[in-house]
Structure formats: C-alpha cells, structure tokens
Symmetry: C2
C-alpha cells in the first residue's frame, strides 16, 4: 500500500503464488468495498488531525480531548465530502479510537430504531442523525450486567403528571459502564424497571435527557461522571465509560420506548401485538458487527506478527550467511498460521452473518419467527467464540514478536487492551455459550419428535448416521477432503451434545443436571460453533472465486483452520470415538504440510488485508519491513528522554551513590 | 489481615474446613517466613511514600520519578532498620514496582558473583552492596535476544594500552531492553564479542562504567536512553529499559569477567580450568526466582478473582432472596479452581527448585557436573511452563470478574501487563521448551545404553513398564490415588517422547527431524514439565504437614491440579493409549466432586496467601469484600472528573450539537 523507498519484504512478496489484488477483493467482499476502504484509509492516514502515534504520551485528559477533536473533525469531513453511510462508517473505523460516537451510532440509534414506535423514531432519529443530540446506551449497573432482569433502576409512572420518575434506589443501581455517558452524551436510552400502580413490569427502555443542550451541565437530579482508567495506556481510555445516578428525575410518558409494550395515559401496562422477539433482531445485528470486528482485530495482529516474523532473524547462520527468519521455525508457524487462517475464517463467517441478519429481518417482517431462536443462538455463539479466539490470538501474536512486541510502538499491547472487553460486553462469553448450550440441549431433546432442526443445526437431523459412522481417513491427504472434515466436526459436535444430554438426564432434575454439567456444556457449545465456522469456510471456498491462485490459497487456509482445531481438541474427536489416534496423527502430519504451503504466501496473505501503516499503528508491522531504524528513532521520542539526566536524579539517585546512609546489616 | 469494620466475606471465612494460620505456614514455608512477610508487608503498607493507588494518573516522567523516590526510601528504611537480606528482599517485593534495583540486585550482582574472579568480586561487590555504583545487565541487542551467540557488540583487546575497546558496529548491535540502563545505571555488565589479535572468541561479559559518578552524564563515546513506553499504564513503565551504543569506549583489561576465561597481558585468550558449566549455576538461580514470582503473581490474581466471585451475585434469585454468588457456578469454578490449584502447585515446585539450586551448587563445588544438564533442562522447562500459565491465568482471572475486571482499580490489568514479559525475558518460553525437548530426546536415545536417567527424568528408566501398562481406573474415586495420577503423567510423558523420537528417526537427519517436528516436541516438553509439577505436589502432600485440615485441602488441590490437566490434555492421554475415553470421563467427573470440596474453602485458601490490600492493589480483591462503595468512590478520582464539563466541550462538542456543519448525504 505504502510506496516505500526500501522494501525489506520484496523478496517475500515475489514468492507469493496467488494474485494479491484478487485476494483483496475476496477478503473485502467486492471490488467496491476495496475501493471504499482504500479511499477512506488514505483520507484518514493523510490527515494530521488523525495522527495517532503520540497517544502513549498523553495523560487521560489530553487523550480524551484529542479524541473529541478527532470525532468532531471526522464529522466535519464526513459532511464536507458528503460521504455515504458506508464511507462514513469506514472512515470511523480507520480513525481507530473508541469514542462516544461508537455508542451513538452503534447502540443509541439502533435501540431507538428497534424499540421505538414509528412516532418516536420520527421524533428522535433526525436529531440523532444530525448529531443535534448525542446518545448512549445505559443498561449495565454497578450491581448487574449479565442479569439484565436484575437491574434496580426504577421508572415509576406518575398518572398525575403523565410522567415517569426515573430513580436510583441503591448504590448498586448506579448505571456503570455505558460508553459516552461519562462526559459527553446529552441523552441516553436508560433501562429501568417499569412500575405502574405499584406493580413491577420488568425492564424497559426510556429516552432520558442527561445534560443541558446549552451548557452541557447535568440536569437536576442527575449525577454523572467517568468511571476511571481502564486497561492499557491509550486503548479504551479515549472513551468516557460512565457512572450515572438519578434522584427522582421526571420524563414525559412518551419517552418510554413503546414498540413492544406501552403504558397508557391511565397508567395501564399493555403489550402491543408486535412480538417481543423483534428485539432479538437488534441483538443479531449488533453481534454480527462484533464478529466482523473480531476478524478485523485478529487480522491486524496477524499482519504485524507475520511481517515481523519475516523480518526477524535469529539463530541458524552457517558461515556468515544470514540467520533464519523466525517465520521459518515450525513452532512459529504452528502458533501463527492457525491464527492467520482464523482471521480469514472469521471474516467469511462474519459476511455470512450479514446475510443471516438480512434473512432474519425479512422473515420478521413476514411474521415468520421460526428461525429466530436458531439465529439468536448462532450469533451469540459466534460472538463468544470469535472474540475469545481474537483476544487470545492478539496476545499470542505479541509473544510471537519476542521482546519487541512488549513495546507500545509494536502496536500489539494497545490492540490487545482495546480489544479484550469484547469478550465481556454484549454478553459475557461464558454466559453466551451457556445460552447456546441450552438451545442445543433443547434441539437434541426434540430430535425424532418430528420437529426438524433448522439452519446451522440442520446436521443434527442426521443424528443416527453421525453417531454410528466412523472417519474413513487412511492417509494424510484424506484429511484434505471437505466432506471428511465436515463430517468429523459434525460427528464430534453431536456426540458431545448427545453425551451431555444423557448425563443431564441422570440428575434428579434437568435444571440441576444442566447446572452441574455446565462446564461440559460450554465445550458442547464451542464444538457446535467451530463446526459452523468450518462449514461456512468450506461453503465460501466452493463459491466462484476470481483470481490466480486465490481459491487454492483459501482452500489451504480452510484446511489449516479445521485441522489445527482437530489437533487442539483431539481429546473430543478421539474420545467420542469418531476418529482413531492414528487418524489424529495423520491430521497433524497434514497440518505440517499445509504450513509449508502457507509459508511462501504468508506475507502476501496479510498484504491482502490492505491495511495502511497508519491503521496498523505498528513499527514491527510496517509494510516496508524497515523495523530496526524506526524502532530506534521512536525510542528517543519518549518523554523520559527529554533530558539526559532524569528528573529525580538529584533527589533520589545522587544521595544514594554518595552514600548518605549508614551501612545495613546486609 | 486488615482489621476491617465490615466483613462481607465473614460467612465465607466461617465455612472453611481447615486452619488458615497453619495453611499460611505451609504456603510461606515456615512460621519465620510468615512473620517476616507480615512485618515487611505492614511496614510498606503503612508508609505513605509507598502508596501506589495513584499510579494510573501519572505521566511517564512522574511515574518514573516516583519509583526513584520509592527505591531511595526503601533503601533508607532498609538501612535505618538494619534489615537482614531476607527482610530487605521481602520489603522490595511488597513495594511492588519494577525498578532499577531489581536488575542491580537480581542480575548485576549475581553476574559478578558468578562470572567474576575472586579479585574482581572483592573489588566490585562491596561497591554494589553499598549502592555506591548501580549496575544493570546489558546482554540483549536490537537485533539479537534469544540467540546470544549472535550478539554484535565487540570488545577488541588493544595490547598497546592493555585495554578493551567496546564498540557498537551496527545499528542492530545497539543494546536494547536492559532494565535500569536507560536512565539510572552507572555501570553495566556488557556482553560482547571478544576479539584478540583479530580472532573472535565469542561472547564474554565486561564491566563497563556508563555514567559519571559525579553528575550522571554518560561517559564519552556512550549514547544511552530509554526505549519508550511499554504495555500497560503503570506496569513496567516504572522501569527504564534502555538503549546503549558504544563508540570505541576503552576499559581496563581487568574489567572482563574472568572466572572461566581470561585474556593475558599479551592478549592471549585462555580458558581457566573452572568449567563453563559453572555459569549454568546462575541461570538455575535466576530461573528459580522466576518460578517463585510466578506463584506470587498467579496467587494475587486468583485471590482477587476468588474474593470478588464470592461477593458478586448474578441471576438465580427466587422470590426476593439474594442472587447466586457467581463462585457457585460450575463454569466459574472450572476456570478458577484449577488456577487456584496451580498457584499452590507453582509455589511448592518453586520451593523445591530452591533445594535443587542448593544441591547443584554443592555438587559444583565438589566438581560433580553429572546432574547439571538435567537441572538446567528442568529449570528452563519450569520457567517456561509456570510463566505461560500465570500470564494466561491472570487474564482469565480478569475475565472472571466480568466488566469490572477491566477497570484499573481491579488491579488485574496492571498485574497482567507487568507480568507478561516473564514469558519472554530470561529465555523466550518456546525457545526454552525446545531446549528441554532436545534434552529429552537425548535422554530417550540413551535409554538402555546403561546411562541411567537422573533426577526428574528418573521415571524414564521404567520406559518398558510405562509403554506397556494401562491405567486401571474403574471408578471416579480411583483417580484420587497419587500412584494412579503419577503413572498416568509418567506414561503420557514418555509415550509422547518415544513417539516423537521414532518420528524424528524417519527423517534423513536428526536435525531435520527435530526442526520439522518441533511443534510436537514442544508438547513433549510440556508433558514432562507438568509431570514434574504434579510429582512435586504429590511429594509435598506426603510431608508431615501441621494444622487441622491443611493436608486434606492440599491433597484436594493437588488432585484438582492433576485432573484438570488430564481433562485439558485428554487427547494426549487417550491417544497414547494409556487411558480409555471412559477413564477420561471418570477423571472429569471426579474433578466436579473436587470443585465442590474446594468451594467452601476457596476464600480461606486465598486468605492463606496472606496478602495485604496494599500489595493486592485491587478493589475487587479487598479483604473485607466491600467492593461497590469503594469502586464508586474511586471513580471520582479520575482526572476526567476534575470538571463536570470536560475540557474540549466548547471546541469539539458544542459546535457539533449546534449544527455548524452542512448536512451530509447520510
Ligand atoms: C469496555 C466496556 C464497555 C461497556 N459498554 C457498555 C455500554 O455502553 N452500555 C452498557 O449498558 N453496558 C456496557 N458495558 C457493560 C457490559 O455489558 C457488562 O460488563 C457485561 O454485560 C458483563 O456483565 P458483568 O460485568 O455484570 O459480568 P458478571 O455477570 O458479573 O460476570 C462475572 C462472572 O460471572 C459469570 N457469570 C455470570 N452469570 C453467570 C451464569 N448465569 N452462569 C455462569 N456464570 C455466570 C461470568 O461468566 C463472569 O465470569 C461495557 C463493559 C465494558 C467492559
Ligand atoms: C520487560 C523486559 C525486560 C528485559 N530485561 C532485559 C535485561 O535486563 N537485560 C537484557 O539483556 N535483556 C532484557 N530483555 C530482553 C529479553 O531477554 C529478550 O527479549 C528475550 O531474550 C527474547 O529475545 P528476543 O526478544 O530477541 O526474541 P526473538 O528471539 O526475536 O523471538 C521472536 C520469536 O521467534 C521465536 N524464535 C526465536 N528463535 C527460535 C528458535 N531457534 N526456534 C524456534 N523459534 C524461535 C520465538 O519463539 C519468538 O516467537 C528484556 C525484555 C523485556 C520484554
Ligand atoms: Ca498514561
């Protein structure tokens, strides 16, 4: 991407056996998507306001102010250039700093769209679209996150004034975590326990104004602030995650989001005929974006680690020849290439989830709710799996860079710190897997009842076959057949599920069995989700894919993804009796051959992500591989190097050296 | 430890089935060790200079200066109170901030002790002991870390002046990473390529003065500075990891560390009759301290996560009763309790390593080198395994705390950031495991040759038995027998090793086989190291241990440690044919029963670590469990909360809200 004078990776690039430009299209989804990304990435990279290499040196306040500046500038550019929604969202991605705008566009607006009546949408959305109000999503409290039904904030209807009284009755009912809340949002969708006439109707959403639109001061009865420093140096500290308390704050009745349930003028609580499941639509949407973010974050880390592993040489020099590139070590490959394959796998399953969301939406509009539970379980599971693998994968990439990966200038520490909360927000990953497991146990219990499993659980329809069949792999090459891989993953998933269901049935009650065996159930859910990703990757490779060598390389990556999982979870595959230890060993052998096929293409495969140096933000991941001079240059910019003799020398070092203390017993 | 007014965990504490005070002794090693730790921890916690809760808010310079202040104050206290070496080192541990003193005492002094002649020790050690000089350990360069033999810095002997000329011939030869180097050290042990009379004699150590003892300015020919910000906010940024370049810097000949090799006045290079292996002694020492640090770091994280999991309640409330403590969820237990058990396991293997170090030292003094390769492999492997598990374990503990774990006030982000480099320094963990694997392959190849495997490889002597025997577990309880567990780990380790050796022998050369199969070899090494830890834990439980219930609880933890590994590595155990899938399932079943036994003791088991709130540095891990009010209080201290309306509002938010921009196409 960068037109560099030196290219230390030119030799690597010349070895690639496929058309990188065509792979860019396969990765991005279309030529159009590549072009938009290209234009937006350059726009951001060339604009001094969007500079981000100074982030490490800023205190919290300057850091935060700088993010406000970037957000305002981005908005200005979006308007000046009359960007489309697609372009604008790309631009925000490349600005690459969490900020209040993420919640405004990503949660506040969708919440109103999903839960507001037509009238409410007509009133609030234009304000939000023009950013005449800025909103956040205030659900989590100090005491409750995963258990939304346990939220304590109350919204009590007062029929006298036709208002709700929003109140925080306890310390633990303080809203806690909402992004954009702490310092910026003028409005929030607040989730609170609806009370009418002394009766508790459970959790509902309310649009609440928090701050004056004139001078930004909190409205009467509202205490609001930032919850403090978070993981990492820059990272998520550009975001004002906030705390919020209400002291009997009044809002008009029409600010309850009333699409699925309403409170009448008289204070009667009524459910509309719009089914509650509609709300799941938004969840499917939000989680699909999280899967797509996972592939982005993982691919960035992999891009850095692959390029640096090709630059870095250590050991193995014979008679003065250059040392071995660390990417040539099989241990390095066995850690790095499965992550490279995962980045591609997550990208494609993310694209498929977009299709799923469209499909669900269309069905909902036609009042068809039949696929919703399956779609919901599927997105919950994929959110959990892809974010966990990505978080661990980023840290693994950092370790793969040796000591230099520990420097912020490698980009990896901050990428990790900014990414990891994805394992927690929008559903704690373990809690989500338990939901998936519950759905799977239900599906298993209904097998043979005539109710056919749909979508990603369709394979469960072949339960009899999958319980009886055996893997017929005889040679390492047999593991390259998509049908062999697919059946192995299906058999493992269903066998684990059926075993678990059997074990649960031995307990006095289903509930007790479920909770006692929940650690096993998590493994059942993971097996199911891995199957989904493998099968979508296989489907992708079956598509008509343009460009010399592109399909071949994707096939290789698909096999790497699948076989590295077979190796990692060998216990599952062997102990459920579908494959033999010998077949497991053959899978592992084939994996080595696949790594050798990835190797000459590794750098080109990460080039295909098409990331600018600005977006990567990593000296180790520089496109031109010119790592050492730039690391050296960067070091001197640290504030500690402002003076040769450090501040504190005269007070704390000199007296010590000059031995002003008595000698100890040591 | 804290005499708190409230104790939200009192009920938990009352449920414990063992004597916590006795467990403290088992953990610390002796009553004396508990007392020293107690006194030093209180000393630090009560001294305002050692306050550390403001770390997140400091910029790099203030942070660093503050660390200098603490180090000087600690030194002052050590002298004033005439502390013993043991007390002083405890005090430094509880100050709990990486700083130049760590390298001075932990690397510079040991290097001179280990590699200096008696004369050199007599000259330099007293200066170092009194801190009239401050030293660091300058080995790693920009271009070389793992491959020490590839270092490029040169030390060329000049017979005319009887001096060495220290020089950095290339950019990549710049020293890079040494702690304490950047801003503080007056001296360094510098590793450089010794050249006499045009001949390269490989890497040797040299004592080099870097800075003036009068005004701290770098001596002529020396460029030195800090390498920049590292992972995390406070974390390792209190340390001045440095960059250093030499331009023909001259030092007297007697500043080469000459214990094992010397350069004569004439420039002749001679090896002394002291064997080179002596140097391994220092490595064994340093790595043993790293294992001991691992148990410390992991136990801190586990302490925080256990206490918070007992405080945190989520879901499961029936009719207004309190919700379920999250520590009661089996998924939480299956993630948390193996880490609790690992903390204990690492503690005991660390104590055993101290014995090993003493044993090696005695043998070396008696010119017995027979156990050295085994001791060396063992410490390398244990360093690798314990640091990897600890790094991942800290992050897992953070996730176990849900969203609140992501706040710096939880203590976990900084604990992670400051800990992870342990996976890289003192030997990259993968490189170390490959060394262990090489040693194991050699041991396997010598089986039956009459050379008996010693120490931790002694089990390999029973290779025939272990290859043929089968696990005889019939019930879940059978897995509680130490002999059953031990043989399972021995059989798995040796079977993996023998398989690998066989596979290697199929390659044209041993070297090629080793490198092609290196990913498998890493797994062989891990299996061997896990066996060591399991067997030392079993030995520990066999000891005479005082106190009601203490032995019983340690037995439970030992079983949790072992069986959770059987479950995690089921593929190894089953596919090598030692255990059946059914036996694997029984191990997993037993594991659940063990978790239920740990549960009522969990809080008391972490109390036994005896950590002060100051040392833990975590609101979630507070001894009194008073989490919510303190989280709330802490939030308001963030600099962002200095003003209600944030800096930047007028420039970047108001204009946006007031719509000064044209409307976009969106
Ligand atoms: C960076 C960040 C941004 C956020 N942004 C927002 C935002 O904009 N708006 C908003 O409203 N919220 C936000 N949140 C909050 C987030 O949604 C919650 O943190 C998340 O839902 C997890 O809930 P929790 O923190 O209560 O975890 P907990 O539920 O307390 O989890 C603690 C532990 O208990 C376990 N556990 C809990 N329940 C069960 C169960 N039933 N079975 C087994 N195990 C269980 C979990 O697995 C976990 O290990 C944000 C959080 C973060 C970290
Ligand atoms: C916080 C911190 C403090 C430090 N303090 C000091 C100090 O005080 N003094 C000092 O001298 N140094 C210090 N170091 C440097 C440290 O010792 C090195 O970083 C470490 O030795 C690893 O070497 P490297 O960085 O060159 O990694 P590399 O060797 O470049 O490793 C990069 C990757 O290559 C792989 N690799 C390398 N060789 C092989 C092989 N033969 N086979 C398979 N894979 C291989 C590794 O596994 C890794 O994945 C410090 C480092 C850190 C992070
Ligand atoms: Ca900072």
């Amino acid at each position: 991407m960068e037109g560099a004078a030196v290219d230390h990776l030119a030799h690597e690039r010349s070895r690639a056996q496929f058309d990188v430009e065509a792979m860019k299209i396969a990765w991005a989804g279309s030529k159009h998507a590549v072009d938009v990304a290209d234009r937006m990435a350059r726009l951001v990279a060339s604009d001094p306001v969007f500079k981000k290499d100074n982030r490490m040196m800023l205190g919290r306040k300057e850091l935060f102010k700088n993010t406000l500046r970037k957000a305002a500038h981005a908005w200005k550019r979006i308007n000046e250039l009359r960007l489309t929604e697609e372009e604008a969202s790309m631009l925000r991605i490349f600005v690459d700093e969490p900020g209040y705008v993420d919640l405004h566009w990503g949660m506040f607006v969708p919440a109103i769209k999903g839960q507001g009546t037509d009238e409410q949408q007509k009133k609030w959305l234009p304000l939000a679209y023009r950013m005449q109000i800025i909103g956040c999503y205030a659900q989590t409290e100090l005491g409750h996150g995963s258990n939304v039904q346990g939220l304590e904030t109350t919204a009590t209807f007062d029929p006298k004034t036709d208002e709700f009284i929003i109140h925080s009755p306890t310390l633990t009912s303080s809203k806690w975590w909402p992004g954009g809340l702490g310092k910026i949002s003028t409005h929030a969708v607040v989730y609170a326990r609806l009370i009418t006439d002394g009766k508790d109707h459970g959790i509902n959403g309310f649009i609440v104004q928090l701050r004056s639109l004139d001078d930004h001061s909190p409205l009467p009865g509202i205490v609001v602030g930032d919850i403090g420093t978070k993981f990492g140096n820059g990272a998520y500290n550009t975001m004002d995650n906030g705390v919020l308390r209400f002291d009997h704050v009044r809002i008009p009745r029409n600010q309850m989001l009333m699409r699925v349930s309403q409170v009448t003028r008289e204070g009667k609580f009524v459910q509309s005929d719009v089914p509650r499941q509609l709300l799941y639509g938004t969840m499917v949407y939000v989680r699909q974006t999280i899967v797509s973010d996972a592939s982005k974050a993982l691919s960035r880390a992999v891009c850095i680690a692959v390029r640096y592993s090709a630059v870095r040489r250590q050991f193995g020099s014979q008679d003065g020849s250059p040392e071995t590139q660390v990417i040539d070590y099989k241990t390095q490959q066995s850690r790095l290439f499965p992550l490279l394959a995962s980045a591609y796998a997550f990208r494609f399953v993310g694209e498929w989830l977009k299709w799923l969301y469209r499909d669900v939406t269309e069905r909902l509009q036609a009042n068809d709710f039949s696929t919703l539970p399956e779609a919901h379980a599927c997105t919950a599971g994929l959110k959990s799996l892809t974010t966990s693998v990505t978080a661990d994968g980023i840290e693994e990439c950092r370790k793969l860079c040796g000591g230099h990966g520990y420097l912020c200038s490698s980009g990896l520490p901050e990428l990790f710190a900014v990414y990891v909360p994805a394992c927690t927000y929008e559903g704690d990953n373990v809690v989500l897997l338990l939901q998936v497991a519950r759905f799977l146990m239900k599906t298993v219990s209904q097998l043979g009842s005539g109710k056919k499993p749909v979508g990603t659980t369709a394979y469960m329809g072949s339960v009899q076959h999958l319980l009886q069949s055996k893997c017929d792999v005889l040679t390492a090459e047999d593991w390259l057949k998509p049908s062999v891989i697919l059946e192995a993953f299906e058999a493992r998933a269903i066998r684990l599920a059926v075993n678990c269901a059997k074990n649960i049935s031995k307990f006095p009650s289903q509930e007790e069995g479920f909770s006692e065996l929940s650690a096993d159930l998590v493994e059942v859910a993971i097996a199911h989700c891995q199957l989904i990703i493998v099968s979508k990757f296989i489907d992708k490779v079956k598509e008509d894919i343009q460009g010399h060598g592109v399909k071949e390389l994707l096939q290789i990556l698909c096999n790497v993804y699948a076989l590295s999982l077979v190796h990692k979870h060998l216990g599952d595959f062997v102990s459920t009796g579908y494959i033999t230890p010998r077949q497991g060993a053959l899978a592992n052998e084939q994996l080595r051959f696949l790594y050798a096929q990835v190797r000459p293409n590794a750098v080109a495969l990460v080039d295909a992500f098409n990331y600018t140096d600005h977006y990567l933000g990593s000296i180790l991941g520089r496109f031109d591989g010119n790592v050492y001079p730039k690391l050296y240059e960067e070091a001197w910019k640290d504030p500690l190097n402002d003076t040769v003799v450090p501040d504190g020398y005269h007070e704390y070092i000199r007296p010590l050296l000059k031995q002003k203390f008595t000698v100890s017993r040591m």
